[in-house]
């Protein structure tokens, strides 16, 4: 079983002190306010299951207030009326402020989401500044096109901000998701009502505070904490929201799209679940392949929508890969995410924790071989051992459903044609990985897998310039890259006759 630095212990092994929680209310129209109902929500430390603090609990009425502020800021406020370069300057300042507060922000996500503090700081928080800077640089490069129309007409397109954006984000990457949605929307000139996940509201509120310090005008960015079925539903069915962008489960994505359709037909982009295949071919370097495969699933305790939860290994090297993966799982230190020795923190909440353990039971019951792990770690908090199943069949539940935890399914394959077919045999299509030295295999598989991102000899190689999103029931629309701007822009065509032109 895995090493663990004892999930029960508090963070005595860490020299880092968790800062006092400064922001717990709703952020509406530039101010931190209580919810209309006065209700609050306990936010939990997954290391212990204990309450960190209470935050204001938003509901439909609070969403109404936030939308009103965002509507006013969009229809009459300065934000969409500034030049892209002026918006960019404010976003650059926002990025600098995040960098200055990186420790505190990383600590909030670590204590609230069970994320490894050191990684959170250099990955999640650094990525936030990077995304802001990237889209700051894009704000003044939103080009329409001048058209080549039939004789006698001149035309061009304007790409206008779409309006008030509703953003609903998940709890696995509270910081990254916040900026994946917010940075391009701000660059486009939109105003935003964002609902963070009820599990992880703390960093979002801090970002709202920094946005104000950076000079984002009141009403442009509003943050309303709350539950999906109340606050989230109020966003997706709101008649005065022009666009909804959501990252989360496929099940909830379907509800959001239904609510959008039933209300004002607002366009929706969805980044949903996955059951992403990683294909390791015989010609792969064993050490490199095992390392990539291990991180591809266990990064962020398996709570990542692109997790390579189906690892297909070609039969020639299967045994060796399996052995290496078991070694890596056993060497993983599970424990307090503030401890610098720890690789894996607790799952985000009790519900997830129980769901993952039930999938592990299901895997055993359906006949998969449990190679390592499978148990909770300690008696307190939501820690789970890195778990690997072998002899997983394509039709087993653990090979079909998104587990969202540290549970890897290993499968064996013989030929490329076979593995392409099996890899595509899923309702999802978010990501895929290929490990091979063969150029033809890499190219053929890349085009054959129906997924939004293909990583060849790497995995989770995210980059803000790289568009990201799903095929099939993993969603539609793209985050990141210049493609993400499309989510937040309308295209308007302008056409007029032109007389006596020397050319057409």
């Amino acid at each position: 079983m895995a090493n663990h630095s004892n999930g029960n212990s508090n963070h005595t092994e860490s020299s880092f002190k968790i800062p006092p929680i400064k922001f717990t209310k709703l952020f509406i129209n530039g101010d931190f306010v209580d919810s209309v109902s006065g209700k609050t929500l306990d936010t939990i430390d997954p290391r212990t299951g204990e309450v960190i603090t209470k935050v204001s609990l938003g509901d439909a009425e609070d969403i109404d207030l936030a939308v009103k502020a965002a509507r006013q800021a969009f229809d009459h406020g300065p934000w969409p009326r500034m030049s892209g370069s002026e918006r960019g300057l404010i976003m650059l300042k926002f990025a600098d402020l995040i960098e200055k507060n990186a420790d505190e922000l990383a600590a909030l996500d670590a204590v609230n989401g069970g994320k490894v503090f050191a990684l959170c700081k250099v990955i999640d928080v650094a990525e936030a500044s990077k995304a802001l800077r990237y889209y700051a640089g894009a704000a003044d490069k939103i080009h329409g096109t001048v058209l080549k129309l039939s004789k006698g007409l001149h035309g061009y397109t304007l790409r206008e901000p779409i309006g008030v954006v509703g953003s609903i984000i998940p709890w696995n990457f509270p910081t990254v998701m916040f900026f994946m949605k917010t940075a391009p929307a701000l660059a486009a000139g939109c105003t935003i009502v964002l609902k963070p996940a009820e599990q992880t509201p703390l960093s979002a509120l801090y970002y709202a505070h920094l946005a104000k310090l950076a000079g984002v005008p009141d009403g442009v960015l509003n943050v309303v904490n709350g539950h999906g079925h109340t606050t989230g539903a109020a966003i997706s069915s709101h008649m005065d929201i022009d666009k909804v962008t959501f990252t989360g489960s496929t099940e909830v994505g379907r509800k959001i799209m239904t609510a959008a359709a039933a209300s004002n037909l607002k366009p929706v982009s969805l980044e949903l679940g996955g059951k992403s295949p990683l294909l390791i071919f015989d010609d792969a370097d064993i050490d490199q392949a095992a390392e990539i495969a291990f991180r591809a699933l266990f990064f962020n305790k398996g709570e990542i929508c692109v997790a390579s939860s189906r690892v297909f290994v070609q039969e020639g090297i299967y045994e060796k890969i399996e052995k290496k993966l078991i070694e890596k799982a056993k060497a993983t230190v599970v424990g307090d995410p503030f401890d610098p020795k720890v690789h894996q923190g607790p799952q985000t909440d009790k519900k997830q924790f129980e769901k993952i353990l039930s999938y592990i039971e299901l895997g055993k019951r359906e006949g998969a071989t449990l190679l390592t792990g499978g148990n909770r770690v300690g008696q307190k908090g939501y820690y789970i051992e890195p778990t690997i199943f072998a002899n997983v069949k394509d039709d087993m539940t653990i090979a079909r459903e998104e587990i969202f935890g540290p549970v890897m399914s290993l499968m064996k394959f013989r030929t490329m044609e076979e593995v392409i077919k099996r890899a595509n045999d899923t309702t999802y299509g978010l990501a895929a990985g290929i490990i091979t030295k063969n150029l033809n295999v890499a190219n053929t598989v890349s085009r054959s897998i129906r997924a939004g991102v293909i990583w060849i000899n790497c995995y989770t190689a995210f980059d803000v310039d790289c568009p990201y999103g799903g095929y099939k029931m993993s969603g539609f629309g793209r985050d990141y890259g210049l493609d993400a701007l499309n989510q937040y822009l309308q295209t308007k065509s302008v056409v007029t006759p032109v007389v006596d032109s020397p050319w057409y």
């Binding site: 030049s83 370069s85 990237y134 700051a136 640089g137 003044d140 490069k141 053929t444 007389v499 032109s501």
Partner: protein, 539 residues
């Protein structure tokens, strides 16, 4: 837009009514000074030039990260155009110094960290550079005015903000330089990779020394190139200062090299250097021809040229005459008339011609000329004695060829290179003053009858840099826009110079475009990568 509104607030002379609070506070000083400098300033006002509040620190060549003497040890004087006095002696670069600079740039490109730095890191260095420019606006603008003679307020409030803005614009491009995946006719994967072109040689003029430095250096660096810049011999100072800030921002040694010197020596050495991969030049058409020939005779390096102009400014019959007068005045007289895109042929429809002429003359008479360090001054001295003499010669030519000198035509004072704002009427296309680029404060007003006629006449020039169109009629605007053979058409505005707007010429005004997305291609190579696909799921 912001830059444009800043320019228009300066051109309108109504500084006090500007929305910017800093301009309002300046406006009070301006109001006092105005009684002294209103109209052509008196010689007395020029006798005691204000002593600039900046020390000239950088006078050597910047090669491989160090400020060094020239190989020959020679220096040349750079002059204050207000007085003709020497400001400083500057190291004079020649072929040997260009060799050293190119060799440093070559090494920095081939081995050095810059092209191997991530695009994100390059963007951060450029963002930092822009911040440093903002922090040193006063020193830079002072050097610019001292060395060039342009109004300090223009340098500090218009040009410096445009410079940092443009640098940030290209910083934002660094991590968005995209190639394409290309559809193929057969089972092939086709990609285009945009690679930095290598060592860029950049030769810049004296009319906007620092702005031209930024136009050249920022896109080249964003793309991952290394550069050797030759500044104009009239104005070497601000670029040397800015290069220091670039180093402070984190540009590695050898990536940016600045060589002061003359065109026939240092400039020619750069244009004909076998190790320079690309050349960008802004200056006269005459010199542009030489530069292009040198590139052709040596290593066929691609060249972009931004050259002279004789840009028409067309005032149609439905124009708001007062606005047209103000804008036409600005289009020509801005920066002492030393703009390649100066609206130097003002075409006015016959129905508004008399009114326009009278008001244009009155506006020129009101133009305040004097020490460019004095607040509220609209026009300083011309850059140097050579330009000064050339402009005076053109004024005499205008009179001799039968144009009517409505106002101006004389030098101001007996020291420095000040010229009265000058307006000619009854100008026709056969006169030298409507054919040649004068590059001074000399407005030529021509009368026209109908649209087709003015299109023909406006296009009767070897140049094609820019044009202004003043009309409220949508069809007239669209027709003129398409019919004029120029790189920029400003409709009901002029000299709007956003970072994102491409700028460059048709015909003998040059080739290629600077600014905007288009400038990136000047500094990139395109590599097509093709490989067969085996059993692809789709083509």
């Amino acid at each position: 837009m912001a830059a444009a509104s800043r320019i228009s607030s300066l051109l309108s002379r109504s500084l006090a009514s500007s929305t910017s609070s800093s301009l309002i506070s300046k406006g009070r000083i301006y109001g006092v000074g105005r009684s002294v400098v209103c109209g052509y300033t008196t010689a007395a006002a020029l006798e005691k030039p204000i002593t600039p509040s900046v020390k000239v620190t950088y006078t050597k060549l910047l090669i491989n990260g160090d400020y060094v003497d020239s190989a020959s040890g020679k220096t040349f004087p750079t002059y204050d155009p207000r007085t003709g006095d020497v400001i400083a002696h500057v190291a004079e670069g020649d072929a040997e110094d260009i060799n050293r600079a190119v060799s440093a740039a070559r090494k920095a490109f081939d081995e050095g960290p810059w092209p191997k730095t991530t695009a994100y890191e390059r963007s951060r260095v450029l963002f930092k550079f822009a911040d440093l420019i903002d922090q040193h606006t006063e020193e830079l603008a002072t050097l610019e005015t001292w060395d060039n003679g342009k109004p300090y307020e223009q340098a500090a409030k218009v040009e410096l903000p445009m410079i940092s803005r443009l640098i940030r614009y290209y910083a934002g491009w660094a991590d968005k330089i995209h190639g394409l995946t290309v559809p193929a006719d057969s089972p092939h994967l086709v990609q285009t990779i945009h690679e930095p072109i290598g060592v860029a040689g950049q030769i810049i003029p004296w009319n906007f020394p620092l702005l031209m430095f930024a136009w050249k250096v920022a896109p080249a660096l964003a793309c991952g190139n290394t550069v050797v810049v030759k500044t104009a011999e009239q104005t070497p100072l601000s670029a040397l200062y800015a290069a220091k800030l670039l180093q402070e921002a984190g540009i590695p040694a050898g990536v940016v090299n600045v060589v002061s010197g003359y065109g026939p020596t240092a400039g020619a050495a750069l244009a004909s250097h076998m190790q320079v991969d690309k050349l960008a030049f802004t200056g006269s058409t005459e010199t542009g021809k030489i530069v292009l020939q040198l590139a052709a005779k040596t290593n066929l390096k691609p060249v972009t040229l931004e050259l002279g102009g004789k840009s028409p400014f067309i005032v149609c019959k439905d124009a708001d005459v007062d606005k047209a007068v103000e804008l036409a005045h600005f289009a020509l007289f801005f920066n002492q008339g030393q703009c390649c895109c100066a609206g130097s042929r003002t075409y006015v429809h016959e129905s508004v011609y008399d009114e326009f002429l009278e008001k244009a003359k009155a506006r020129a008479l009101k133009r305040s000329v004097g020490d460019p360090f004095v607040a509220g001054i609209e026009q300083g001295p011309q850059i140097d004695s050579e330009q000064f003499e050339k402009i005076m010669k053109y004024i005499r030519s205008g009179v001799e060829s039968g144009a009517t000198l409505e106002t101006g035509g004389e030098r101001i004072g007996d020291k420095g290179y000040y010229i009265q704002p000058t307006v000619f009427s009854n100008v026709n296309e056969n006169m030298l003053i409507s054919k040649d680029e004068i590059f001074g404060p000399v407005q030529s007003i021509l009368k026209f009858k109908d649209i087709n006629e003015v299109i023909r006449r406006a296009n009767t020039t070897t140049y094609g840099l820019a044009a202004g169109v003043f009309t409220q009629d949508i069809d007239t605007a669209n027709t003129l826009t398409r019919a004029l053979k120029v790189g920029t058409v400003w409709v009901n505005c002029y000299d709007v110079f956003d970072a994102a707007i491409p700028f460059g010429g048709y015909k003998m005004s040059g080739q290629g475009r600077e600014k905007g997305i288009h400038c990136l291609s000047n500094y990139l190579q395109v590599k097509a990568v093709v490989t067969p696909l085996k059993d692809p799921a789709w083509i």
